[in-house]
Subunit: 135 residues, 2 copies
């Protein structure tokens, strides 16, 4: 999918702070994180949403989400983590390539506020810290 | 877990509008739904959160979540569905038995507002409609 920003990240045509990669799945940091450590986990194959992806790909995607949720917790230092997967515009989907958000939360946080961009330097630092915690 | 409301539902000690059940997983409607069709999917075994549940249980849980997301879409008539799994109080977890929300969304919806209770009659109607769409 030439015009899909996540496909471009997967193909290394666009930069991202990559946290995890295997033959089927990639994870990288959101550049407009709700909080530090806000990670996006995507299948490498282009599926628009959960409806399009086969069952076994969804199962595998969420085993990686679990693995990375532990790593984000250990890197960011909070077990308060919201896992979110939006389908369709009215559910808040913005990029139409299936993705799962791993979002560390703080007390009183509102998840769907507009976020500030985070600098590439800070994203790279976050990614490094999370990568070190992957077991 | 004697004091866990979801364990009580699983053991049929408390009523709920059940959408799906197999040997490992149960799904029932939230009695304070964000919108009609708001479904909760839980492992029958008591795990507090995603950290406690083994990888293979998480994978299986989300294959059922996918299956039920299709059914909720077909029953409610919207593909705008948000899948949410909260860990710890600061991430909005209220019942400390691992659960996944399947939440049909409408334009302009805010997910974390206080919801009204939905009558048992309407919940039973919703559950019946979703059950009929499970493939």
């Amino acid at each position: 999918m030439d015009d899909c920003v996540f496909c471009q990240i997967i193909q290394r045509k666009m930069p991202a702070s990559i946290v995890y990669e295997d033959s089927k799945v990639m994870a990288f940091l959101s550049h407009r994180p709700v909080n530090e450590g806000h990670t996006l986990v995507v299948p490498k194959k282009h599926y628009v949403d959960i409806y399009e992806a086969p069952e076994e790909e969804v199962a595998y995607l969420f085993t990686i989400v679990k693995k990375l949720t532990h790593a984000v917790r250990d890197a960011i230092g909070t077990s308060a983590i919201r896992i979110v997967q939006n389908n369709s515009k009215n559910a808040g989907q913005v990029v139409f390539h299936l993705h799962v958000h791993i979002i560390p939360m703080k007390e009183g946080n509102h998840i769907w506020r507009e976020n500030d961009f985070r600098s590439t330097e800070l994203l790279e630092k976050d990614a490094r810290e999370i990568r070190q915690k992957i077991k």
